[in-house]
């Protein structure tokens, strides 16, 4: 199977490239990037060909593309790939607005190609184990979830809204909302959020606390803030505190780490399973077996809706019903 990567604007492109190259039978056949320097360097790093034209890349015999461009470019790149008949794994958030997301989903459907949203946290071994525990009924009915997906200010285009669509809220809401939807098999009904700009000097939302209610009555909160500073031992976290009628479950997706103390300070070194490999494997197998991917474009849209509702709630200082988005 031949795969290509469209843009190295998003840093996840590197781990996806590694995941492709270490997957049996998969080949990284090319890289397109609108920044020739970045594209050529990446092609060199991964020993593959750089294409300065997206159309030329899409006219080759590749089977699928990984889109890791700026959020605002996801639509253009996905639509182009879909029309060329190439399956798409798109970095999250799926897009910066609902209209683009819908167009992406529609175009992929019309061209009969797979659109998968990159939610690698679904392939985290601790998160998968938590899903098994919840599905077994051991926790009883899930009543509440307290989640965090805190991180570091990524800088660059991430803090330029014309490229990113927003700051911490659009960046860090979607992963954990996706996990919550997946765990609960229920959709977010209502969102309230406090969003602010308190960490970075640029004018962009860099912190937020979302409160949600799901259709099934479960309540949840999510801290999506870029509140980790450079001296914090790691980039951020994904945690879930789950309260059920029969017990509680604490999940910390990156707790499998060792602590290192040296002249560079105190750092966590993660030794758990790499989840990007799981995501890539699922995408590749879905294409091979011509099956529906385990994470769809619709999943990407649903998570994006929550992030957009959080912005609206914060502006209006009131809870937002999801149908109003």
């Amino acid at each position: 199977m031949k795969l290509a990567i469209i843009s190295f604007a998003h840093m996840h492109a590197f781990s996806y490239a590694k995941a492709i190259q270490s997957y049996p039978g998969a080949k990284l056949a090319g890289i397109y990037d609108d920044d020739p320097n970045r594209g050529e360097r990446a092609a060199e790093d991964f020993n593959t060909q750089y294409y300065e034209s997206l159309d030329v890349l899409l006219s080759t015999d590749i089977d699928a593309v990984i889109i890791t461009s700026e959020n605002s470019m996801h639509k253009v790149h996905t639509v182009a790939a879909a029309r060329a008949g190439k399956h798409v794994l798109c970095e999250k958030p799926l897009a910066t607005n609902i209209e683009d997301s819908l167009e992406m989903i529609r175009t992929c459907k019309e061209n009969n190609i797979i659109l998968q949203t990159a939610f690698p946290v679904r392939f985290s071994s601790p998160v998968l184990r938590a899903k098994t525990i919840i599905d077994s009924g051991e926790l009883g009915e899930v009543l509440a979830i307290k989640g965090t997906n805190r991180g570091t200010n990524p800088g660059g285009w991430f803090i330029q809204p014309e490229f990113s669509g927003g700051g911490a809220v659009i960046d860090h809401t979607v992963h954990v909302v996706d996990i919550m939807r997946w765990f609960l098999k229920s959709e977010v009904k209502e969102v309230y959020a406090e969003v602010d700009n308190r960490f970075v000097s640029e004018k962009i939302d860099d912190c937020g606390i979302l409160s949600m209610e799901f259709d099934n009555g479960t309540i949840a909160t999510l801290d999506c803030s870029w509140s980790r500073n450079p001296s914090f031992p790691t980039w951020g976290d994904v945690t879930l505190e789950i309260v059920g009628t029969k017990g509680t479950l604490s999940v910390d997706a990156f707790a499998q780490k060792i602590d290192v103390f040296n002249e560079r300070g105190h750092k966590y070194h993660y030794w758990g399973d790499e989840m990007d490999a799981g995501l890539m494997g699922d995408f590749i197998e879905s294409i091979k077996e011509e099956r529906i991917p385990s994470i769809s474009g619709l999943d990407g849209l649903k998570a994006l809706e929550v992030a957009l509702a959080a912005y609206k709630s914060s502006r209006q200082k009131e809870p937002i019903q999801l149908s109003q988005v």
Binding site: L143, A144, K146, R150, E190, Y192, E194, D196, R198, F199, V200, D206, C207, G208, I209, S211, E213, I219, T221, D223, S225, S227, R228, N229, S231, F232, E241, V243, T245, T248, K317, E318, P319
Partner: protein, 336 residues
């Protein structure tokens, strides 16, 4: 010598009684509880005389100069007013009362009668919380941004299951989260708006998540739980330059594990233990006694207790209405 009468021989009465026993210049003179067994047990533990009513205690012990009310919340107003007839100093456990009206009535009653009223917001005496506040005030994290706190454990057991009754205790938000409301207000000043969601209608299971927006811009997220096993508390202050992080589950200097097969008996509210020469309850009560004698203002005033109650009631309202609640300050009304 300061002579103390404790009213209420439950969990908090027991903690206070043991604190007074070790305090210089203080004598625990009597314990009141209408439950003869509870009174007798604590009386024997502490070598203190016990009485079924405050009136009988005061008749027998006219030297008492401070009465410490450790009763369920819904009895605070009645017993603080009663105590004010006998002594010049009253200590009342948190929360002050079930409602703003009750709390104001209590405060004004004491003010008119010249009674010093102290409220037991003990978190202000926990050294980890004091230290965190100090680091933040010294600029240790730069401008604070997002604050997270957590507090709780199992569902508390109490006399006639008073914790289960929102009428009597105010539930988790008033009884438990009020600690963090008071502490955070101490750190960051007044709250502008409150949003809260909690699980509803579950027997002996309660869990609430609150978001506070302070007037200075700080966002705080609070978890209060009576759905977990074993008490714990934690906080994280994230600022633009640094992070202050604490979790009682991880800061355990002494950990005894016994090889037994019988289950652990739990009684009353779980009280966190930490091997300090002077525990936070001791420090709190010693501070109150010092304020009584010196005329110094306490670290936490009854007006602070009222403000914390205001935030808690706003959280309760937010939970009931699914809407954020903007706080109306009660301070102006008080100073009228």
């Amino acid at each position: 010598m300061n002579y103390v009468l404790i009213v209420g021989a439950g969990t908090m009465g027991t903690v206070h009684a043991h604190s007074y026993l070790n305090m210089d210049g203080v004598q625990l003179a009597g314990i009141v509880d209408i439950r003869a067994d509870a009174a007798k047990q604590l009386g024997q533990q502490t070598g203190t005389r016990v009485f079924p009513t405050m009136e009988e205690a005061m008749e027998a012990l006219p030297e008492i100069d401070v009465i410490d009310i450790c009763l369920p919340t819904y009895l605070h107003l009645e017993f603080v007013k009663k105590a004010a007839q006998f002594v010049k100093n009253v200590i009342c456990e948190k929360p002050l009362a079930r409602s703003i009206d009750e709390a104001k009535e209590m405060i004004e009653f004491c003010k008119e009668k010249g009674i010093k009223l102290f409220v037991g917001h003990v978190v202000r005496f926990f050294p980890e919380y004091v230290k965190a506040k100090q680091i933040i005030e010294d600029g240790g994290i730069g401008r604070p941004g997002v604050i997270r706190t957590s507090r709780g454990g199992g569902f508390p057991a109490g006399w006639e299951n008073w914790y289960e009754s929102r009428e009597k205790s105010g539930g988790l938000v008033l009884d438990l989260l009020i600690h963090d409301f008071d502490y955070l207000r101490w750190c960051f000043g007044e709250v502008e708006r409150v949003y809260a969601r909690g699980i509803k209608g579950r027997e002996k299971l309660d869990y609430t998540l609150v978001t506070l927006k302070f007037k200075n811009g700080v966002i705080a997220h609070l978890e209060g739980t009576w759905a977990h096993q074993g008490f714990s508390s934690s906080f994280e202050f994230a600022g633009e330059k640094g992070i202050v992080d604490y979790d009682s589950k991880k800061a355990v200097p002494v950990h005894l594990v016994r090889h037994v097969d019988s289950s652990i008996q739990t009684a009353g509210v779980t009280v966190p233990e930490s091997p300090l020469k002077e525990n936070p309850y001791f420090q709190e009560l010693q501070h109150f006694i010092h304020c009584m004698n010196s005329g110094q203002d306490p670290i936490v005033t009854c007006d602070d207790g009222l403000k914390a109650l205001e935030i808690a009631l706003a959280a309760q309202e937010a939970m009931d209405t699914n809407k954020p609640v903007f706080l109306k300050s009660v301070k102006e009304e008080l100073t009228k």
